[in-house]
């Protein structure tokens, strides 16, 4: 008979073993790998070095790629926020069947493969695609979009929109409409009501949405791979190149570990901030 205290451990054991073997061990091996010496002729050597970290953090080539990844992700986050927040608000004020139908249209693409959606954008944004035809029709002269940062940002906004809309929608659902009515009946303008009543309450949703979008954009692979072309590299596509073309695994591992640390740092610090803020607000 199992002791009552060990029951939860017993129940978690299969998942725990799997995660130790498939997540913790591989991550540990990769950290070790990132310190290994790499020789272009003989491959990975059994000596340890910090050279890869120094190279990635000091070489202007990698700096450019990290910088591009950061600004593309930041711009994507900003656009998702500017489009997603009003959209979620408008949807929440719609009547019943429309409300859920339109919400599903916005978030259901989440389940369609990223490759398919990226491919759709490469048709739309190509030189003879609908977007340039439409611009011609309006008499606007567009410069090339496909294989530039513009295409990457457009497609990323599309992929990330559900991750922004979902948390904002969730916080909008918690809103008590009678508070807004009270503000209005006390002769606040609709704008003031929005700014002083609605906005503060959906702010946590907007923040967590922004963070998820930024994190996922910064590590996105298929979108820059398919819509950025060969020249426009982001962090994930550079890691892929190091692994598959340069075969410099230790260097690729170094970049991946830096990406992981940056991602975890953003997520965890955000959690701290939110928790502290709410404890203050509630306590």
């Amino acid at each position: 008979m199992i002791k009552p205290r060990s029951v939860p451990w017993f129940l978690c054991a299969p998942a725990l073993v799997l995660f130790v073997v498939m997540v913790l061990v591989p991550l540990f091996l990769t950290v070790i790998l990132s310190f290994h010496v790499f020789d272009h002729n003989t491959g990975i050597k059994n000596e340890l070095t910090l050279a890869h970290y120094i190279e990635v953090l000091s070489d202007s080539y990698y700096f450019e790629i990290f910088w591009r990844t950061i600004w593309i992700s930041a711009l994507t986050t900003l656009l998702c926020l500017l489009i997603g927040a009003p959209q979620a608000y408008i949807l929440s004020r719609m009547r019943s069947p429309w409300k859920s139908i339109l919400l599903l249209i916005i978030i259901a693409p989440l389940l369609v493969s990223v490759v398919v959606r990226a491919f759709g954008w490469s048709i739309l944004l190509g030189p003879s695609g609908l977007v340039s035809l439409f611009a011609d029709f309006l008499g606007i002269k567009l410069s090339r979009i496909l294989y530039t940062e513009k295409a990457v940002v457009i497609a990323l906004v599309h992929i990330m929109m559900p991750f922004m809309v979902i948390p904002i929608w969730t916080s909008l659902q918690k809103l008590d409409p009678s508070v807004q009515d009270a503000a209005l009946s006390l002769s606040a303008t609709p704008f003031t009501t929005f700014r002083r009543i609605v906005l503060p309450q959906i702010l946590p949703g907007m923040l967590s949405g922004s963070l998820i979008v930024f994190g996922l954009s910064a590590s996105s692979f298929a979108i820059p791979g398919l819509l950025g072309g060969r020249k426009l590299k982001m962090v994930a596509t550079v890691v892929y190149d190091e692994y598959l073309y340069a075969l410099n695994w230790p260097l690729g591992a170094t970049i991946a570990i830096i990406l992981l640390i940056a991602n975890l740092a953003i997520m965890l610090s955000y959690n701290r901030v939110i928790e502290r803020k709410y404890r203050r607000a509630l306590g």
Binding site: P8, I107, V112, S128, F221, L259
Partner: protein, 264 residues
Amino acid sequence: MRNNGPISLFFSTLVIVFMLAPLVIVCLVAFTPDNTMTIPTSKFSVRWFEAVFRHSDLMTSFWNSLRLGLFSATIATAISIPAGLALTRYEFKARGWLNGMFLSPLIIPHLVLGVAMLRMFSLIDARGSFTWLVLAHVVIIVPYSLRLIIAASVGMDRSCEHAALSLGASRMTVFRRITVPMLLPGITGGWLLAFISSFDEVTMSIFVTAPSTVTLPVRMYMYATESIDPLMAAASALTVAFTAVVMLLIDRLYGLDKVLVGGK
């Protein structure tokens, strides 16, 4: 006051068009009779769909993805049920820590997981092994099945279990006849969500698949980096249709909005 003005509705329509545009366009282009990426206006043709079914690489990778999704979603569900029950029904010190670990694939970039697993697979000579590929997919889809099972377990009324126990049912009978049936919507919803997540996964898979185990998204990614032709559009349209069927199933069994948005 809670009505949307014309500007709001116009804005909302634009966003909807933006979200649907890439999916609609691949489905339209898939029916072109030409060899170029044109939208058919007068004549529709299914020749590119036929080409997909004759394309042996695409078909092999489709079956790979399907098998992989079925196996990994089933294993993920099987280990998520006991873990989900443990995490919701027992107070123990490591609970928060275990919960965080099982949901960690949502925060760890798939790229990093792919790179990490590639290193391990090459050390233990497991590249090209279907079994290890299944385990890799199980890890990234456990968060989805686990979350729905946790939600179902939290919302479950346990008095039925107590009633059955007090009437002399064994623990195993209670689990089989009461607990599992009551958790069933969460289990099936979680299984489907896990399946479609595995079926779609590309970033990690591109590192851990070998030529013999290439999945459909990976094959399509490779194909699309080299050429853009209606064959890809037809394959994409079929993928969209397949996903739509799974979505309908999720909606019937659990509620698509509940799966995607969460909450009640």
